[in-house]
């Protein structure tokens, strides 16, 4: 368990800036969701935390450690991938115990931990199955079990529910929340699905074109958006925008609505 800090993270691919000076602090045990349109840099940000991509500038801190230049295996993070990414040549047991075996844990310890993890995601009695013999939801649960079995400091989930059907998605959502309560670990979750973001997270980080727009609890983002982008992005149907102008800078600012809009409003109130 640990907090995560991103300090001035920038990632450039050639001329394209995927992440632009990102500063973020995620508290210990918090469930934070990264939302934003596709290509906004939320996945890149997550890969930077995992160590799969190295940032062009900036530092990543996990707990008290600066992990910016550490390989993924030494960061104490585990990750659930959008495409599930189970090792197809290994059965469920081998998939879940992969990380533990690499770290040379004792066999009984591995057995005990795998059993625990399988119990948490309700996968008992499926240890000998191969990934291609399982349904999408079962595979997803194996992937989650593989992530929790190592007791990571930080959990990273990159759109883990995107490939599931609607009913299963709702079910897995509650499962994940239960898991968060049970494990009490820091979870960073990437999604473009607002419903997921709004219902599951302690705080939402809204990202657009590589820049952090706002990080606040879901309802704060909803009721008090920090800028136009957040206002338009959060909520469905999205918020109406009305152009206006500040006319009086006295004690209470007085805004005048642009003429065309006020015309339209008058008409609406007259008819409606």
């Amino acid at each position: 368990m640990a907090d995560v800090q991103l300090q001035h993270i920038t990632k450039r691919y050639g001329d394209v800036t995927a992440v632009d000076d990102m500063n973020l602090e995620i508290r210990d045990g918090e469930f934070v969701t990264f939302v934003g349109p596709s290509g906004c840099g939320k996945s890149t940000t997550m890969e930077t935390i995992a160590g799969l991509t190295l940032p062009t500038e900036g530092n990543v801190m996990i707990g008290e450690r600066d992990v910016t230049n550490l390989p993924p295996k030494d960061r104490g993070v585990s990750m659930v991938f959008q495409n599930i990414a189970l090792f197809p040549h290994m059965d469920v047991y081998d998939n879940i115990s992969f990380g533990l075996r690499l770290r040379k844990y004792e066999e009984e310890e591995i057995d005990r931990r795998v059993e625990n993890a399988a119990e948490v995601v309700q996968l008992e009695g499926m240890m000998d199955r191969m990934p291609d013999e399982m349904s999408g939801g079962q595979r997803q649960r194996v992937a989650i079990a593989r992530a929790i079995v190592r007791n990571p400091d930080v959990f990273l989930m990159d759109e883990p529910l995107a490939n599931l059907d609607a009913k299963l998605r709702v079910h897995m959502r509650t499962e994940l929340q239960r898991l968060h309560k049970e494990l009490d670990t820091t979870i960073i979750y990437v999604t473009h699905d607002q419903a997921e973001a709004m219902t599951m997270s302690d705080r939402i980080a809204v990202i657009n074109s590589g820049q952090l727009q706002q990080i606040d609890p879901p309802l704060v983002c909803y009721n008090e958006p920090a800028n136009l982008f957040v206002a338009g992005f959060i909520g469905s149907p999205s918020m109406n925008f009305i152009e206006g102008e500040v006319t009086d800078t006295g004690s209470a600012p007085n805004t005048s609505i642009s003429s065309s809009t006020s015309e339209r409003m008058k008409r609406t109130s007259a008819t409606g």
């Binding site: 890969e47 995992a50 160590g51 799969l52 390989p71 993924p72 295996k73 993070v77 585990s78 990750m79 991938f81 959008q82 495409n83 599930i84 990414a85 189970l86 090792f87 197809p88 040549h89 992969f98 990380g99 690499l102 770290r103 191969m130 990934p131 291609d132 013999e133 999408g136 595979r139 593989r146 190592r150 990273l156 490939n163």
Partner: protein, 335 residues
């Protein structure tokens, strides 16, 4: 038949109905093939298969017949061993003149088992070196983006365009030069007559093909699996050998089998890098040539030795076939 009457005859048939032509058997056959191409393809397939099997397996059969012939009657052998004579059965000869003993003689006349061992070891070690190094190269070429990737790959492939003979003279010079540092390990300080003189050029010569095969296979393993392995606790190289290579098993098996067979059968380099004696790591083919005496060539033993030499490779291919055929990637990722 005049032109007019032929036109008249055609008129009698309504469209869609064909005139009953007077066809010979060959024409009839051709017409059937045209109307039913499936059958044509099938018969072509069988023709090609039979042709291929006869041309590859008949020499082998012939070899067996030569091997089973007794020393005195090594001529006119086609379908039966030269010394085969069923009438001998009446005289109490159960073998009917067939010399099964040749397969034992092969190992008593010349230490042929040592020659097989030499070739097998050199082929196996070369295969391991090639697979390990080509895996690293295949990973880089197949999965990483870097500048000059195309030209570098081309450079690697160009090596395989040269005939091996082009490398021979400089390599022979090099391997025959005594190096004082190596004197304690190698007899006279040169690589001549040691397995290293073959391992090194073979690894280099067969590397490009394996790199090419493995590049193609490794590039198809999804990035997600490699990322997952790295987050779970492997290094990039660990992910290569624990996840990417096992999932590319058919490709690895193909590259391995091709390398093994090529090295096992190699004669040009190995005959020139050794003096042909078994304790100097001379290969299989040198062993076969040892049945040539000054006064007599023991063709039956050469044939028997050839068959004995083929068996290890045949077994290997049968085992590897399983891997080559089975695709393991199914169900890896949800698309």
């Amino acid at each position: 038949m005049s032109e007019e009457s032929a036109a008249e005859k055609l008129k009698e048939y309504s469209p869609g109905e064909e005139p009953e032509l007077d066809r010979g058997p060959l024409e009839q056959w051709a017409a059937n093939m045209i109307s039913n191409p499936e059958r044509a393809y099938k018969s072509m397939f069988y023709t090609a298969t039979v042709f291929f099997l006869v041309t590859t397996l008949f020499p082998f059969y012939w070899l067996l017949m030569v091997a089973l012939t007794q020393r005195g009657s090594l001529q006119n052998i086609i379908f039966l061993p030269g010394s085969f004579d069923p009438t001998l059965l009446a005289e109490g000869e159960v073998t009917m003149g067939i010399n099964f003993f040749a397969f034992v003689e092969v190992f008593t006349t010349v230490p042929f088992h040592r020659y097989i061992f030499n070739s097998f070891v050199i082929a196996a070690v070369t295969t391991v070196i090639v697979i390990v190094v080509a895996s690293l190269a295949g990973y880089v070429f197949g999965r990483l983006q870097f500048r000059f990737k195309g030209p570098l790959m081309l450079l690697v492939l160009i090596v395989s365009f040269f005939p091996p003979a082009a490398f021979f003279i400089p390599l022979n010079q090099l391997f025959n030069t005594p190096v004082d540092v190596m004197r304690p390990i190698l007899a006279d300080g040169t690589l001549y007559n040691t397995p290293y003189a073959m391992l090194i050029p073979f690894s280099a010569l067969f590397m490009p093909l394996s790199i090419f095969i493995l590049t193609t296979f490794y590039s198809q393993i999804p990035d997600g699996l490699e990322d997952a392995a790295r987050v779970e606790g492997t290094t990039r190289i660990g992910a290569l050998f624990r996840v990417i290579a096992p999932l590319s098993a058919p490709g690895v098996a193909t590259a391995g089998v091709l390398t093994f067979i090529a090295v096992y059968n190699e004669y040009f380099f190995s005959s020139l890098m050794t003096d042909g004696r078994e304790h100097n790591w001379a290969p299989l083919v040198e062993g076969i040539l040892r049945y040539q005496g000054q006064h007599e060539v023991l063709f039956n033993l050469m044939a028997a030795a050839s068959i004995a030499g083929v068996i290890p490779v045949a077994l290997l291919v049968v085992v590897a076939q399983e891997k080559i055929v089975s695709g393991l990637t199914s169900g890896a990722l949800k698309e």
